[in-house]
């Protein structure tokens, strides 16, 4: 079964500094990869996704992620963070398509805290 590991449970950074949130997944077969963001007391919103093509994927709010098949990684980056980026970030991978239903497997989450 697929598994996703987010290597940092908490990441504190100063405003306007760059940030990288790390994500590794278990499978070497073709996968679809996602990053979701959860602001306090809200549901999850899709930040970006990798389905195929270019390994560098750009998402909303200035975030981007790079798919590295050989290292089975999908790290999320932003060159300059803002206070409003304070949230929990989840990496997710498709486990497969059974009966037409795509099931996502989520990592444990990384809490990003931006300090002024």
């Amino acid at each position: 079964a697929q598994s996703v590991t987010q290597l940092d449970s908490q990441v504190p950074v100063f405003e306007e500094a760059p940030v990288e949130l790390r994500c590794n997944y278990s499978s070497s077969v073709s996968v679809y990869l996602f990053w979701y963001v959860q602001y306090p007391n809200q549901g999850l919103q899709l930040l970006l996704k990798y389905l195929s093509g270019s390994t560098l994927v750009k998402g909303i709010n200035g975030f981007e992620a790079e798919f590295n098949k050989s290292q089975t990684s999908f790290h999320l980056r932003k060159p300059s963070v803002h206070i409003s980026d304070t949230a929990e970030y989840f990496c997710a991978v498709t486990e497969g398509i059974i009966q037409g239903a795509q099931k996502l497997v989520f990592g444990q989450g990384t809490r990003l805290t931006i300090n002024p």
Partner: protein
């Protein structure tokens, strides 16, 4: 366009009580999912549905039941509440088709359940 609506937002249950968490979507999505979110554990799939009348177990189904009588609604039932079911529950839906939504999920805002 309301998206995915979950009710209630908060609930406290006593051990042994039962309740139904409601989930409704107005996007005509075929696929719907229930996840639970526990601190440091990410999201775990409880049940999913590929269409009206069709449901299946996810990773952590014990203690829960679901039904899907319409495309719009996917309620989650807790029959005998236990402290281990204290969690935040998220409902999600998707087209599940690459050309429609790139396999992205739309999440509800969650139900925070405490069992005492």
């Amino acid at each position: 366009n309301a998206g995915v609506t979950q009710t209630p937002k908060f609930r406290i249950l006593k051990i042994g009580q039962s309740m139904t968490l409601q989930c409704a979507q107005d996007m005509n999505h075929n696929y719907m999912y229930w996840y639970r979110q526990d601190p440091g554990m990410g999201l775990k799939l409880i049940y999913y549905s590929v269409g009206a009348g069709i449901t299946d177990k996810g990773e952590v189904p014990n203690g829960y039941n679901v039904s899907r009588s319409t495309t719009e609604d996917f309620p989650l039932r807790l029959e005998l509440a236990a402290p281990s079911q204290t969690s935040v529950y998220f409902c999600a839906s998707s087209y599940g088709r690459l050309a429609k939504d790139g396999y992205g999920y739309t999440f509800g805002s969650g139900t925070r359940l405490t069992v005492v």
